[in-house]
Each structure stands twice: as structure tokens, then as C-alpha cells.
């Protein structure tokens, strides 16, 4: 039995020895939030490859720190290694610290896990913390106050309301109590002056001076001085100038003195650095603060020659040479002097006569920056080259500025410069740039020679102005009118005669026929037929009021038909004429009979036509 017990114990020991070669321990299993405690991992063997668990819920304040312990027990030397962490709980609750692992003797060994209970913060603890915080805060504040009292920057502006373009001086002055132990003092943010044209004074070395403010002696220096010329109207802000400083202040030992009285009351009174006092460096930002100025706009009635000048200004203008030559430059100088925004004035408007080639002005700046603004003079040199000879007038040059004293625009006018330009040496063709290629070709030729073959006539009046012209013009109209008159009369005559003929047509025909009858009696065949044909021809011509010479058989038929004669009758007329012509030349068997027949037919035809005509007229 005892043997058994022993064996069991042995096994147990072996087990413990084996399993507990790597242990995790904590200094306290119950902690409050924020409280520190120690976590130790101990390995009772050699090992390597240590892997710590995650410390979730805790904050590692320090560690791991390693210790080695060697002990000799019963003549056996044993060694232990331990790693310890200082942890603090961050939140309340129960947290488990997971086992760590290490490789020992070729095996991975795990430590045990530990539960840590985190309790809420205790009241006392809280109070203590808050107090410390408060103390720190009030300390900082008090330090700030102290620093502010002994080290500051002031921004001073000499005018608070100005006109646009009127110069303002801004000055940043640093005040320092020499007893303040300054570790460092550096500019942090240099001001940018938006809306201003700026001209800075050179401030390479600070000129430290003594000054007594409120009974305290200060070292002062102007750290920045600027002339500002507002370019906009309205309320403009002048930026602050900020400096970073670190001041070393004596503070009372907190542990000893927790009285509520100010720690610094006797700070400067005590020349000794007594026991229980310590020094601390305080960061601080000192700022000059900003300042605003009101910029008034210039009056609206700006003259055209106003180029932005504001202040108390004068202008002089002169020409170096009023008698020039073509192609040789002439200089007009305009000098603007006085006190004002000289540097930002635009050049006065100068218009040389059109024949001058004008160049941009050369600006000669001869100004200095003074406390009251910019003073001195600026000279504008206008160069112009006359291109043609002649007499020209230049100017007057006008310069308008805003006078700050009278608050009005003032215009200065120069004299008018009379320029006489003679012919210079430069060739004229050198600048007749508009000559085209064609022109140049023409220049090579000469003019045509004078006219030598001249007919000299004294001036006469031109034909246009003579009376003949009118006569010649009007004469054709008169002639035309006369011709028209004559023609009309002639036509009337013709018509009348035709009418008479028409009336007498039958009679004439009868006369003819009776003549023919005489020939019939004498049996003169040719004469008979001629007379008959002539009788019919003449009758129709008279009846139709046309000339005999215009008659032909076709025309007769056409006209008769037009006059309303029947086709049959027309045929008979034509046939009679045909018979006459035929019979004249063709011999006939019974000539006497045919002559008689023809005669009778002719008589009948004429009577028929006459009656047809008459009936038609009656009808008509």
C-alpha cells in the first residue's frame, strides 16, 4: 500500500514537473480599471521560440523584461527563465490571458491560461486622476498667463480708415521681459496681406530697446514694419504675426505642495531657487492679433487721365529736343514726385502724333519707403521716333491724382510741346512698308517724258456747251414729226383716190368694155382681149382698193373671197381673165363668136360682182 502511495506521488510529481515546466502567473487576479499589474511567464528549462499571447483587454505598459534564476537544490542545479510584462486593464469585466508557447527540448510547451477580473475604477482613484489633470491644466494656464504678461507682440496701424491707394503703416513690435527665461523664440506664421500692395522695411537685425510698460521694464523690438497700400475697398484685415516660444518657468514641487494658492505668486520675487521648486518648459504661441482697416473707394468722378496716383504728387514733363529729324528718336520725360503710392501708379497716358512710332515707357524708380508712405520720384521716359517731317503738337501731358489733403482729384497739365521735325538722313523708302511688290517694280521705272508734239490751242468751249448741241439733238425729233405728218397726208390722199376709184369702178370698166367693143367691131383681136382683161383687172383693183401692180390671180381670188363673194363668182372672174389671155394667143375656129362670148361674159361678171358687192354693203 505504501509502495503504491509512493508510486502515485512519484507519478504526480513527475506529472507536475513535466507539465508545469512553463507557468504563467499574475501579481493580482483582481484589478481595477487602470491599475497596473505584473504578468510573468516562467520556464524551468531551457527553451526558445517564445510566443506571447495577445493581451486583449489590457494595455502593455512595459515589458517584456527577462530574468534568469539559477538554484542548486540537493546538489542539482536548476535554472529558470522568466519574462514579465506590466499591464493595465483598460475596461472592466473578466478577461482571460491565453497561454504562451515556447519550444523546449524539441517540444512545444504551453503555459496555463489565467483569468483576470477587472473591477470598475475606485472613487479615490478617479479623484486623484482628475485632480492631477486639473492641476496640470491650471499649471499650463497659469504658465500661459505668466508668459503672456511677459512676452507679447503688438500690432499697431497708423490709420484705421483710408482711401484706396493711400498708404498705411503696420508695425509689429515684440515686448519681452528680460527676466523671462526664454528657451526659444521663433516666428511661426508671417502675415500675408491680402488685398494690399506691400512694401516691407528692411529688418535684418532687431534693434532692442528698453521700454517701460505699466511700470515694468521691457525689451522691445520692431520685428516687422510694412507699408500697405490697399488695392480693394471695404473692410480689410491685417493678419496677425504669430511666434512660437518655449519659456522655462519655475514650478513648485507638486508632491510637497498641494495648496490651492498660486504656485507662481512669489515666483519672481524669490531670487533663490529654493528646495522643493522645479523648472519646466512651457510651449506657447504668441500672436499679435489682427487689425482691420476700412478702405474707402475713390470718388466716382475719375478723370480719364487718372492712372491710380494717390497722395500728394507733382508732375513735370519735358521733351529733350523739340527740333528733331525724321528717324531720330525724341524723348518725352515725365517725372512724378512727391509722397504717395508712387510705385503702383501706371504710366501717364501719352499719345504721340500718329506719325511717331511710340515705344513703351522706360521707368526710372527713385523712391524710398518712409514711415509715411513712399516718397521720391518716378521718371517715365517715352521714346518716339518721328517718321515724317512736319510740325506736330505733342500734349499737353495730363496727370491726374487723388489729393489726400483736399480729398479731390487734381489734374496737372504740362505745356504743349511744338515739335518741328526736319528731314533726317534715313531714306524715306525704308519705312514705306506698305509698298507692295508691284509698287517696287514700278519704282525702277521713270516717269514718261514730257510731251513735245503738242498742238497748242487756246481753250475753247466744248461742243457740249454750244447751242449747236441742242439744235442737233432736237432737229431729229422735228424731222421725224414732219415725216410723220407728210406720210399721213399722203396716205389719206391715196385712200381718197382709191375710194373714188372704187365708186367709179363699174363706170371705168364699162368704158373699157365699150372701147373693147370698138375693137370687136374692127376685129382687132389682140387689142380686144387686152382691153377686156384690163377692164376686169382694173375693176377688181379699184374695187379691192389695191394697186394693179400688186395684183395676181391668186391674190384676186383671195381678196374677192375675203370680200364675201361666192366661190363660183370668183371662179368666173378668174376664168374670164384666163380666157382673155388664152384667146389672145390661141387661134379659134369662130373668132367672132368667142370674142362676143367673152365680151358678154365680162359684162356679166362685172355686173354680178357689182351687185354682189352692193347687196353685201346693204346687208352690212
Amino acid at each position: 500500500m505504501r509502495k503504491f502511495v509512493f508510486f502515485t506521488m512519484f507519478l504526480l510529481v513527475c506529472y507536475i514537473a513535466n507539465s508545469q515546466t512553463f507557468l504563467s502567473t499574475v501579481s493580482s487576479n483582481t484589478v481595477s480599471v487602470g491599475e497596473k499589474f505584473q504578468l510573468t511567464f516562467t520556464l524551468y528549462a531551457d527553451g526558445n521560440n517564445f510566443k506571447a499571447p495577445s493581451f486583449k483587454g489590457f494595455q502593455v505598459l512595459s515589458g517584456p523584461s527577462q530574468t534568469t534564476q539559477t538554484s542548486i537544490e540537493n546538489g542539482r542545479m536548476s535554472r529558470s527563465y522568466s519574462l514579465s510584462y506590466i499591464l493595465a486593464a483598460t475596461a472592466e469585466g473578466t478577461f482571460t490571458i491565453q497561454p504562451a508557447t515556447v519550444t523546449s527540448g524539441g517540444k512545444s510547451v504551453q503555459s496555463n491560461s489565467i483569468n483576470v477580473k477587472v473591477l470598475p475604477e475606485s472613487e479615490a482613484q478617479k479623484q486623484q486622476k482628475q485632480q492631477a489633470k486639473k492641476q496640470e491644466q491650471s499649471l499650463g494656464q497659469e504658465a500661459k498667463q505668466v508668459i503672456a504678461k511677459n512676452l507679447y507682440i503688438r500690432l499697431s496701424v497708423n490709420k484705421s480708415a483710408v482711401y484706396q491707394g493711400e498708404a498705411v503703416r503696420a508695425q509689429y513690435k515684440l515686448y519681452r521681459n528680460p527676466e523671462l527665461n526664454l528657451v526659444s523664440l521663433t516666428p511661426k506664421k508671417t502675415p500675408s496681406f491680402n488685398g494690399f500692395w506691400t512694401q516691407e522695411f528692411d529688418q535684418k537685425n532687431y534693434n532692442w530697446q528698453w521700454e517701460v510698460v505699466n511700470g515694468m521694464r521691457f525689451q522691445t523690438a520692431i520685428v516687422k514694419e510694412v507699408i500697405l497700400i490697399p488695392q480693394q475697398t471695404g473692410k480689410l484685415t491685417i493678419d496677425p504675426f504669430e511666434w512660437d516660444c518655449i519659456a522655462r518657468l519655475q514650478v513648485q514641487n507638486q508632491n510637497r505642495d498641494r495648496r490651492s494658492r498660486s504656485m507662481f505668486d512669489d515666483f519672481f520675487d524669490d531670487p533663490f531657487f529654493g528646495g522643493g521648486r522645479a523648472y519646466r518648459d512651457f510651449d506657447n504661441l504668441i500672436s499679435s492679433g489682427s487689425s482691420s482697416i476700412t478702405v474707402k473707394a475713390l470718388p466716382d468722378n475719375k478723370p480719364q487721365s487718372f492712372t491710380g496716383g494717390v497722395g500728394n504728387l507733382k508732375m513735370e514733363a519735358w521733351v529733350d529736343n523739340t527740333k528733331g529729324l525724321t528717324n531720330e528718336p525724341i524723348t518725352l520725360k515725365i517725372k512724378i514726385s512727391g509722397n504717395g503710392n508712387l510705385k503702383i501708379i501706371d504710366a501717364p497716358l501719352v499719345k504721340f502724333p500718329a506719325d511717331f512710332e511710340q515705344y513703351d515707357p522706360k521707368i526710372n524708380d527713385n523712391t524710398t519707403v518712409t514711415a509715411s508712405g513712399i516718397s521720391g520720384n518716378i521718371t517715365y521716359e517715352f521714346l518716339a521716333i518721328p517718321r515724317n517731317q512736319g510740325k506736330y503738337k505733342l500734349g499737353p501731358v495730363e496727370f491726374t491724382y487723388f489729393d489726400l489733403a483736399s480729398k479731390q482729384f487734381k489734374t496737372i497739365k504740362s505745356a504743349v510741346f511744338d515739335l518741328t521735325i526736319g528731314k533726317g538722313s534715313g531714306s524715306q523708302s525704308s519705312f514705306s512698308g506698305s509698298a507692295t511688290k508691284e509698287d517696287i517694280q514700278l519704282l525702277d521705272r521713270d516717269i514718261k517724258y514730257i510731251k513735245t508734239d503738242v498742238k497748242l490751242v487756246q481753250n475753247q468751249r466744248s461742243f457740249y456747251a454750244s447751242a449747236f448741241y441742242l439744235v442737233f439733238l432736237i432737229l431729229p425729233f422735228i424731222l421725224f414729226f414732219l415725216i410723220l405728218l407728210w406720210r399721213r397726208k399722203h396716205k389719206e390722199n391715196l385712200k381718197n383716190r382709191a375710194l373714188i376709184n372704187k365708186k367709179k369702178a363699174a363706170d371705168t370698166a364699162k368704158k373699157r368694155l365699150s372701147k373693147a367693143k370698138a375693137h370687136l367691131v374692127t376685129a382687132d383681136k389682140t387689142a380686144f382681149y387686152n382691153e377686156v382683161a384690163a377692164a376686169i383687172w382694173g375693176y377688181t383693183a379699184d374695187k379691192l382698193m389695191i394697186q394693179k401692180s400688186h395684183l395676181s390671180k391668186e391674190r384676186v381670188r383671195e381678196l374677192l373671197e375675203k370680200n364675201g363673194l361666192s366661190a363660183e363668182l370668183c371662179e368666173r372672174v378668174i376664168k374670164t381673165i384666163d380666157d382673155c389671155e388664152y384667146a389672145r394667143y390661141a387661134p379659134s375656129n369662130d373668132e367672132e363668136k368667142s370674142m362676143h362670148d367673152t365680151y358678154a361674159e365680162a359684162e356679166k361678171v362685172i355686173i354680178a360682182v357689182e351687185s354682189a358687192h352692193n347687196t353685201r354693203r346693204v346687208q352690212g
Binding site: 515724317n388 509698298a435 516717269i447 514718261k448 487756246q458 466744248s462 439733238l473 421725224f480
Partner: protein, 252 residues
């Protein structure tokens, strides 16, 4: 008695003087002087011809040439222009005027005219008013012949032709009369001038205190549009207008 004799002598001299002027000789002399480069004397002789009413295009042309030779461009242009007025078709005058115009400073481009105005101007400038008048007479007689023909011809075709020709002639008659009137008016109005001062400020209104509009130089041709006291309203070929003093220019 003595007085009478004196008067007679005076009249004799006067008539002698007026009849003794030998134009041909003066011209020959002037041309000779020109050839010998004695331009001053040549100019004087040409002026003598002008004074004796021999105001022909040729005399003006020769005078212009003498001024051209002494590089008095304004005068040269003036007399060339005068010559051109009298004989617009002479190419020599045109050529020399162009040459003289190349020498002066201002290059003034003419405002382009509408095409029909351009045609009309170029046609009307070809002849003087007298010739246009003769032309119009010719056309109206032609019209007369045509219309008479129209009356007396019997065939319709001949009538048509004659009538057409007559109307056409009548149209040309009217056209040439219009041109003759126009040309005559141009010949008798001296509304163009040549600037003689080296450089002249052209003002916006008559008076020295008015605004300067632009500068013109000697030799530039301007059109005179109006006159107020001793100020001319002028218009350049490019359409710019303004006022100048009468003394700065000479009329063509």
C-alpha cells in the same frame, strides 16, 4: 496832245504784248529747258503758257513732270491730276500720276465701288463732255433713220429690225446725254484737292480746338465736300471725313 501820244503808245504796247506771245516758241523753249534740267525755268515758261489760256493737258503734264523732277510731289500730283481732268484717256498721264503717288506718304485705298458704278465711271472717264455730246447726236440721228425706215418699209421683218435698232439707238442717245451732263459737271466743278502741307491734322469740326481725327500728308488727294469760313470738309478716297483749313490744299 502829249497825253494822247502816251496813251496811244501804251495801247500799242499792250496790243503788241498780247499779240506778240508766241506760244509755239515758248513751248519749245520750255521743253528745251526741261531737257537741260533747268526745271525752274521750264516751270516758269509752262506757267506762262497757262497764263495765256493755253490750258491743255499737255502743258499741265509737262509742268507736272518738271515738279516731279524737283521732287515736289504735291505739285506734280496736282498738275498731273489737272492734265488728267482734261484728257482722261492719256496713258502717259496715268502712268506719271501713279509714279508720283508712289512717292508720297499716305497710301489711301479707295473704297471699292459697286460694279455698275465702276463700269459707269470707267466708261464715262474715257471721253470728255464734248465727245459724249457728239456721240449722243450721232445716236439720235441714227435713231431717226431707223424709225423712218420703220415707217416706210413694208415687210414686217424689215420693220422689226428698224424698230429694234431705233429703240437701241434711242437708249444710247439717252445714255450718252446723261454721261455728257455728268462729265461736263465734273469738268466744271473743282471739288478735288491735293494736300500741300507736310502733315495736316484733320479735325472733327472746323476750328483749331476740335479733336484731331487723323493726319494726312502732302500729296494726298481729297474730295472737298463743304466749306465753312476758311475750313474745308474733306473726304478721303477710303471714306474718312474731316475738316482742314483751306490753306493746306490746292484744288485740282
Amino acid at each position: 496832245m502829249k497825253r494822247l501820244i502816251l496813251l496811244m503808245i501804251f495801247f500799242a504796247l499792250f496790243t503788241l504784248q498780247s499779240f506778240s506771245f508766241d506760244s509755239e516758241k515758248t513751248l519749245a523753249q520750255a521743253n528745251q529747258c526741261y531737257l537741260q534740267k533747268d526745271y525752274k525755268k521750264a516751270a516758269n515758261l509752262y506757267f506762262e503758257l497757262l497764263d495765256n489760256n493755253y490750258k491743255t493737258a499737255d502743258v499741265y503734264f509737262n509742268l507736272g513732270n518738271t515738279y516731279y523732277k524737283v521732287q515736289d510731289w504735291s505739285s506734280a500730283i496736282l498738275y498731273f491730276e489737272k492734265a488728267k481732268r482734261l484728257r482722261p484717256t492719256d496713258s502717259d498721264i496715268d502712268m506719271n500720276l501713279k509714279m508720283a503717288n508712289l512717292q508720297i506718304i499716305d497710301k489711301i485705298d479707295q473704297v471699292p465701288q459697286v460694279f455698275y458704278a465702276r463700269w459707269y465711271n470707267s466708261i464715262s472717264a474715257k471721253l470728255n463732255s464734248g465727245t459724249w455730246a457728239w456721240l449722243s447726236v450721232m445716236f439720235i440721228w441714227l435713231a431717226l433713220v431707223c424709225f423712218v425706215g420703220f415707217l416706210f418699209y413694208k415687210t414686217p421683218r424689215a420693220k422689226q429690225t428698224n424698230f429694234g435698232l431705233g429703240v437701241l439707238s434711242l437708249f444710247f442717245t439717252i445714255l450718252s446725254i446723261v454721261i455728257a451732263v455728268d462729265v461736263n459737271k465734273a469738268e466744271h466743278t473743282h471739288n478735288k484737292g491735293i494736300i500741300f502741307d507736310f502733315s495736316v491734322y484733320v479735325k472733327s469740326s472746323p476750328g483749331n480746338d476740335s479733336k484731331n481725327l487723323f493726319i494726312i500728308h502732302n500729296g494726298s488727294k481729297v474730295k472737298i465736300e463743304d466749306r465753312v469760313n476758311n475750313w474745308y470738309k474733306i473726304k478721303l478716297l477710303n471714306g474718312h471725313e474731316g475738316w482742314v483749313e483751306t490753306k493746306v490744299l490746292k484744288r485740282i
